[in-house]
């Protein structure tokens, strides 16, 4: 039984609690009901016996014996049903050679039981309870008997049991309902915990916040440290990858410089062909490793305007000597939902590409879209033929070897954009050159955006 119970395991915690509570109350109420019925039956039958006793006394009181020894029985008080035939209530007095009985017995007699209190079968198969008492009158023994039908007794007990069962069943149902409510309310923090974890997974939160019940606090604390540990492992792996890639760059520079010094040795030749591949692989995978690390947590919110400022300031210094003029839209109220580093990387590469190709002008603008914003970067350079626009994004192919750089810039932007469920599209711009359109999820026009700032050239602590 216990084994069967333990084998039956509901899937949900609520199920467990409710099933256990139901089983428990079933057992308690069943026992209680049985006990109540038993106590009731006992007290009812005691009352019945008392009544038989009283009737016996009345019967003994109305019996007389004539000097000849004949029985004279009057009308015993207290029970009119002694006179109704087969009413279930009977009396009988037995002398050695004579038997007197109540009218209700008609032409039958009560069975002669030896016990003082006995269960007997009366006329018409009635179940009777019979009290017998020997009485000594004038030196002779007379046997007095009074009997009553127990059907009413049984009926009453049964009616009581039914009433008790109904009452207890209702009480049990109310209890189970109470348990249901209690479980639903009591387990609500678990639902909150789940919702919190979902938010962490979706990247809306970095950790579980808020207060939880004392029983859940250790779990929440463990989960938070697990999340932190995870983040830490990712960061460390990312840092290791980055360190490796960075450490490779200097030797790579040395080798490719040596190879480029033009002696036509076969080794130098092979190096000249292979080293750029190594370089591109490093750049590509380093960029991807950085992104993969950032993908874990996108809880950060980055206002776009200061980032545009930083990049315009930086690029103006690098490309200013070449006569490139960067212009930015004055009002940018967008907020990027993601890592600051990723946004810098995307916008930096776009602007860098535009500056490389521009004759003079580069313009950057930000526009709202549904669920995010769009960044336009325009230049007045030669643009890009339509046939090459997708390949430069998809494979990061280098279109012109004479312009420095790995040629992966736009491909890296596209990769980043995809990670953030955005996109990069190249097309013709209003300045006559290329227009790069970067679509990103984000938030627009938050109330607390700093006022429009002009680009201030000047040094700031990095």
């Amino acid at each position: 039984m216990l084994k069967a119970l333990t084998r039956f395991r509901p899937k949900s915690l609520a199920g467990r609690l409710v099933v256990l509570a139901s089983l428990w109350s079933l057992v308690v109420f069943a026992c209680g009901g049985v006990a109540l019925s038993w106590i009731f039956a006992r007290s009812v039958s005691a009352a019945f016996d008392d009544r038989l006793d009283v009737l016996m006394d009345g019967l003994v009181g109305v019996v007389d014996v004539t000097p000849e020894g004949d029985l004279m029985v009057g009308v015993p008080p207290g029970e009119p049903r002694f006179r109704e035939p087969f009413s279930g209530w009977y009396w009988q007095v037995e002398a050695p050679e004579q038997v007197e009985h109540s009218r209700s017995l008609w032409d039958t007699e009560l069975p002669r039981a030896a016990l003082e209190m006995a269960r007997v079968i009366g006329p018409l198969g009635q179940r009777l309870r019979m009290l017998s008492r020997p009485v000594m009158i004038d030196g002779r023994i007379y046997r007095f008997r009074v009997a009553g039908d127990t059907a009413s007794l049984t009926r009453e007990t049964a009616r009581f049991s039914v009433t008790v069962a109904i009452a207890l069943a209702m009480l049990g149902a109310a209890l189970v309902a109470g348990v249901l409510v209690q479980v639903a309310f009591g387990l609500r923090p678990l639902a909150r915990l789940q919702a919190g974890l979902q938010k962490v997974r979706a990247g809306d939160d970095e950790r579980l916040d808020g207060t939880f019940p004392t029983e859940l606090e250790p779990v929440v604390a463990e989960l938070n440290s697990l999340l932190a540990y995870n983040q830490d492992v990712i960061e460390r792996a990312r840092a290791h990858g980055g360190n490796l890639a960075h450490a490779l760059k200097t030797p790579l520079s040395i080798l490719s410089n040596e190879a480029e010094r033009g002696d036509d040795h076969r080794l130098a030749d092979a190096a000249r062909r292979q080293l750029p591949r190594v370089e591109r692989l490093i750049t590509h995978h380093l960029a991807r490793a950085r992104m993969a690390g950032a993908a874990g947590s996108t809880a950060a919110r980055v206002p776009v305007s200061p980032i545009v400022d930083e990049l315009v300031r930086t690029l103006a210094k690098i490309y200013g000597a070449r006569g490139v003029v960067l212009r930015r839209q004055q009002q940018i109220d967008a907020v990027f939902r993601g890592e600051r580093e990723d946004f810098l990387e995307m916008l930096g590469n776009l602007l860098d590409n535009a500056c490389k190709w521009a004759t003079r002008d580069v313009e950057i603008g930000v526009e709202p879209t549904e669920g995010g914003f769009v960044v336009h970067v325009d230049d007045d350079g030669p643009g890009l033929p339509e046939s090459e626009r997708t390949s430069v994004i998809e494979r990061g192919r280098r279109l012109d070897e004479s312009v420095p750089g790995s040629g992966l810039g736009l491909a890296i932007v596209a990769d980043h954009a995809r990670l953030y469920r955005g996109s990069l599209v190249l097309g013709e711009g209003p300045l006559g050159g290329l227009r790069a359109t970067l679509r990103l999820p984000g938030v627009l026009a938050l109330p607390a955006v700093q006022p429009t700032r002009r680009v201030m050239p000047g040094r700031q602590p990095g």
Binding site: A245, H246, A247, K249, T250, P251, L252, S253, I254, S256, N257, E258, E260, L275, E279, T283, R290, E310, L311, R313, T314, K317, I318, A321, R340, E341, L344, E345, L347, G348, N349, P404, R459, Q460, P461, G462
Partner: protein, 223 residues
């Protein structure tokens, strides 16, 4: 023109030095941050190539300290750190240009040239003075289109004078900008170089200002 290369990787530093010397620059090497900081603070460099990952003292800190000390020489940051946040930090710390490793030597040379030119206010890669043309890209000098053969030191003296035309330049200043720090300096040799340049390019080109130094004279602007 004198350039400081602050790079801890010996092979790379040597390559840079070789390429810079070939382009007509005097070159000093620093392999640590403290070293670079000291040289940059005490020697009058025309440009600096600065690696950010220097031992002892980070390149970015070196740069910030130079700028705080008022050192204004153009600085090209050459680093493996190629994230945009690094670039922004580098430029904000006072760098004038930023090249990520691995790089093409030709590109770094072009950028160093551009930085020096910009610092002395020249727009073109070719400097001119009368019929004399000095091509900073190829490190060649022509007179009326005819190439002139100059030694390395002669070229450096002429290049420094042509970057600052019309200005009186002392012998000490010339010495500081044409020799690297390890060279056994003798300001008398400057006179020898000036004499040879006058012989090769014309006696009127370089004027001696008694007690002060030398000045490049553009015959077309009349002095």
């Amino acid at each position: 023109m004198r350039v400081l290369v602050a790079e801890d990787e010996f092979d790379l530093a040597e390559q840079l030095k070789e390429a810079l010397v070939a382009a007509g620059y005097a070159v000093d090497l620093a392999t640590g941050g403290e070293d670079a900081l000291h040289l940059g603070n005490t020697e009058p460099y025309d440009a600096v190539i600065l690696d950010l990952g220097l031992p002892q003292l980070d390149g970015l800190k070196v740069l910030e300290r130079w700028r705080r000390a008022g050192r204004q020489m153009p600085v090209l940051v050459l680093t493996a750190r190629d994230r945009w946040s690094d670039k922004v930090a580098g430029i904000d710390a006072g760098a004038d240009d930023y090249v990520a490793k691995p790089f093409h030597m030709a590109e770094v040379m072009a950028r160093v040239r551009a930085l020096i030119r910009r610092a002395s206010g020249h727009a073109s890669a070719e400097l001119a003075c009368g019929s004399i043309r000095l091509d900073t890209r190829a490190a060649t000098v022509t007179v009326d289109g005819e190439p002139v053969r100059l030694t390395g030191h002669e070229f450096r003296v002429l290049a420094y004078l042509m970057h600052h035309p019309g200005r009186v330049i002392s012998r000490t200043e010339l010495t500081e900008h044409i020799y690297d720090q390890d060279f056994d300096r003798d300001s008398n040799t400057i006179e020898v170089f000036i004499g040879r340049l006058r012989r090769k390019l014309g006696a009127d080109l370089i004027e001696t200002v008694r007690g002060l130094g030398y000045r490049l004279v553009d015959p077309e602007s009349g002095g």
